[in-house]
Amino acid sequence: MTVNTMKAKRKFDMGTFIRANITKSPLLAIWTVALAAFAFWFVGRSMIARPLLTIPVVIAWAATIIWMVRAEINKTHSPTTLWLKGNLYNSITNALLSLILVVAIIGFLVGFITYAFFNASFSEDPAIAKEVTEAGQLGARWGSVTQNLENLLVFSMKTEMYRIWASIGLLVGLSIPSLIIFRSAKFNRSLIRRILTWLWIASPFIIFFFLRGVGEAGGSNPFYAIDTEQLWGGLLLSLILSVVAIVASFPLGVLLALGRQSKINGVPWWLTYGTAALLTAYLIVTFTLPNLEVAETTGNYIYALLPLLIPLIALFFQKGFKGNVMAGACTVFIECIRGVPLITLLFSGILLLQLFLPDGWEPNKIGRVMVAMTVFSAAYLAENIRGGLQAIPRGQYEAADSLGLSTYTKYTKIVLPQALRIVIPAIVGQFIGLFKDTSLVALVGLSDLLNVARRISSQQNWLTIRTEPFIFIFVVYFVVSYAMAWYSRRLEKQLGVGVR
């Protein structure tokens, strides 16, 4: 049966049409009339401003409607007219909306293209750029972006480009054989496939070595250690930070998820309460009483009374986690990190991390930010992995137990491989989130993509130029995130996770 014969059964009736589109309710009638008036006014305005573009649109709009209506009345629908009927002209309202939106989109596009191309200057000479754009109405000075392209992408690493080429070379070198080996079933259990997998797993570490380097400059070592705080920046820094955060947080996240999920027998209640009571009593005598004597302010009193929190914590721990120390600690860690904004963690990393480290450990700003982002990422990753663990059917655990597998083997060979497979799309999603969140490091003074774009407006050549760099990084962020999101959706389909 073809589409034509299927649809042709219903007969077109003018009365029904009018009732459904206009006279069904007074509200609908008012709405339709108002929308028609607005469409008339809006299209009329556009017609005056851009007649050459608007008139063909209106003609095309009218022609397709007539074409569709004729097909509807004569029952001679083709796939195109059916699509028109279903997607653009389902009702009078929708037909009008379609027209208004097309005209609006054209208006927007014309405005943007005029700004971005016709009135724009692509010269890197600020004087020429100024002249060109000030002659027209409003034009982009793309020179601000092209001149800073290296800064935006790799910042000061432009002097160390061989490191980046080495990293890209490694990735390409791994990708080409992967295309063949991971695709064909012939290599399913072969050694070469295993080696390749391990190389992929090792690649972030190798690239990190390429980019950061080890050892002194000079000598025969081309990958000597560089000052990352000075050199890393731009898109490169955003990518490094997000990859480091996700890779470094992975083991921590798995442990946290397993810990939170664990159901091992807890500390017995008498032990918890007993310890808490003893500790409280001891602290009241040695801490609270002396402090209460010298207390002057409300804050001093609160400080003195802090030991009274211990019984409360014990109660919460015993009631909430049945004495399970591991689950308790992991849950508290996860919830505390998830409960505060990332920016507070970043500032803590910059300002406070140094306080917790012993003498001699002085990570630079990038290192501190990495720690903060790893901790942040671990908490979210743990929740994602916990979701995966919960999705594993109980039968899998029972089957593993009945085979007599040890707990370690059960988790590494049965549970985790399945759980991780389920959460891969969620982890990609989290990676996208991290990549977007790296823009926050601009606020603590690192030269990431956003900050480089922001600083262009204070360059001598491009004073106050903000729009163009921002549009550029907006597009970069969008393309990278959207590509990954698209890949994640594809992966989800392949793994069959989406069907939940």
């Binding site: 997607n87 409960g339 505060v340 969008f478």
Partner: protein, 536 residues
């Protein structure tokens, strides 16, 4: 469930199997874990103590000159000594750091309180348009959602603040009204009309607010009754009825108090009552007041002549009396020039120096500091509709959002709205098609179908992630620091810089955000448990 079930493993009797019994391993693992954790924290604490020691005793200085950890927060009572641009409660540089933090917290609250309802509106609207049968509507909504979900909020905020507000919106003196409604967008922010309650109308305001809350509760109870019994309880009408009734009662009860606002005139002024002002100005200008605008337009009255002839007024900044007086002047067509003093001291200095013919303020202000001149009581209505007007270099009257606040709000709403739209779309799609068909088969109208069949089921799916999005909005408002809006985190950061102490302010900020997050997520857990129970 991924648990290690004690009943499925290790039930042997020998010593080795007992040792490897999962229960024993569990206990050992926990002991090891506790010891490791304690060691780790002890290590951190030792480092911290030694590092704090290096920072100097001043960090923990007590009032009596000694130094102790208990005094870690004593510095917060000292003067903050920095300005905050936006404040919901009175604040000046001599107030304490605590007060500054409170101002910041209220600013965060303000942006969240505006943002959450607006996000809901945007999200629900776009969520529905994502399912529109119209291809263009669907595609445009999809483009919006994808664009805003795949770019960082911070970049969006910068673009809104630096491109939209700073470059595209007109300068403040060129701001035009929006389609004839007196709403003005400019690079300094947004100004819009607002309904101001005078001291005389406070009772009306509280009764209206109370009526609104009580009405909502009654509506909720009625809808529960309706849900349980199937009767139509007409909740919305009862709600409206309660609101109108409380408004009427409030109107009748308020407005009878003596006026709290006054104007002062210097000794020897021709003004004895408010109605004397109009003839005075009219005499100076030489034309009827109704014709001033026309005369200005056709050139028969020069701007200089108007400047000489118009009424000069002094007021204290943003007082209710000022709003009331301006609306009265506008009603009487009296042209005026306004000088607004930020403090009452300056206000009186200007008045005593003869800078203005009339000073307007709350009566209590005059009682305290007026040295010469006479005070006339100003007629005070319950409410005044205050409209923004461009006077001098700024908009005066009405409500206003600063550019920072407006940009932050817009960014948060657009960003969170995109996520909410996806949630709403998924929620609506989660209701199976059979439900719709069944509702149609029962003869329900389209409205009934949405209200009684689709929405209740969709809401169960929508509400938990929706609340997480609200939480995200509150947490993301901390990005305000990037565009200079003085929210909680931004004030915290200023305190860190100002006081030279990092640990204490950051701990306060984190604890506050944590409290908000944990209370919202525990509410969410409670709600989820309740909804899930009902399904069974």
């Amino acid at each position: 469930m991924a648990d290690i079930d004690p009943n499925t493993t290790g039930s042997g009797n020998s010593l080795t199997s007992k040792l490897f019994d999962i229960r024993v391993i569990g206990v050992i693992a926990q002991i090891v874990f506790v010891i490791l954790t304690i060691l780790f924290f002890a290590w951190l604490a030792r480092n911290t103590v030694s590092n704090l020691g290096k920072l100097g005793d001043a960090q923990f200085a007590c009032g009596d000159g000694t130094s102790d950890y208990r005094c870690a927060y004593n510095f917060m009572r000292g003067a903050a000594a920095f300005e905050i641009d936006e404040q919901s409660i009175p604040y000046d540089t001599s107030d304490s750091y605590w007060r500054a933090l409170l101002v910041g917290a209220l600013n965060t609250l303000k942006v969240s309180a505006w943002g959450i309802p607006l996000t809901t509106i945007v999200g629900v609207f776009v969520g529905i348009t994502l399912l529109s049968p119209n291809w263009f509507v669907k595609t445009i909504s999809r483009a919006y959602v994808d664009l805003f979900r795949n770019t960082p909020l911070l970049v969006q905020l910068f673009m809104i603040f630096f491109i939209l507000f700073a470059a595209f919106l007109p300068k403040v003196d060129e701001a035009g009204s929006l389609l004839g409604i007196p709403i003005y967008f400019s690079n300094r922010g947004v100004s819009f009309p607002s309904l101001e309650f005078m001291p005389n109308g406070q009772l009306l305001r509280w009764l209206l607010l109370g009526g609104f809350v009580v009405g909502l509760i009654v509506w909720y109870v009625l809808s529960r009754i309706s849900y349980n019994t199937g009767r139509d309880t007409k909740g919305p009408f009862v709600f409206l009825g309660i609101l109108v009734l409380s408004g009427i009662i409030g109107w009748l009860l308020s407005g009878n108090n003596p006026s709290t606002q006054s104007i002062a005139v210097p000794d020897g002024s021709a003004v004895g009552v408010f109605d004397d002002i109009a003839p005075l100005v009219e005499a100076r200008l030489g034309i009827p007041l109704e014709d001033v605008e026309g005369a200005l337009a056709d050139g028969s009255l020069s701007a200089d002549a108007l400047e000489v002839g118009q009424l000069t007024v002094c007021s204290t900044l943003d007082s209710a009396a000022e709003t009331n007086f301006i609306e009265k002047l506008v009603d009487a067509n009296i042209p005026y020039d306004m000088s607004r003093a930020p403090s009452s001291k300056r206000f009186f200095r200007e008045f005593d120096a003869g800078d203005c013919e009339i000073a307007v303020a709350e009566t209590t202000v005059f009682d305290e500091g007026l040295t010469a001149g006479s005070v006339l009581t100003l007629d005070e209505p319950r409410t005044v509709l205050s409209i923004p007007r461009f006077i001098g270099r700024n908009f005066i009257g009405g409500g206003s959002f600063s550019a920072m606040f407006a940009a932050l709000l817009l960014g948060l709403v657009l960003n969170t709205g995109a996520s909410v739209a996806e949630i709403v779309r998924a929620g609506i799609q989660s209701v199976s098609k059979g439900q719709t068909e069944a509702a149609r088969a029962l003869g329900l109208s389209e409205g009934q179908r949405l209200r009684l069949v689709v929405l209740p089921q969709a809401l169960k799916v929508i509400i938990p992630p929706l609340i997480s999005q609200y939480l995200n909005l509150i947490k993301n408002s901390s990005l305000a620091i990037a565009i200079g809006y003085a929210d909680f985190w931004s004030v915290t950061n200023t305190i860190v810089n100002q006081s030279g102490r990092a640990l204490q302010p950051i701990l306060i900020a984190m604890a506050t955000y944590l409290t908000i997050s944990l209370s919202i997520s525990s509410f969410l857990n409670w709600y989820n448990g309740r909804v899930r129970l009902k399904e069974r």
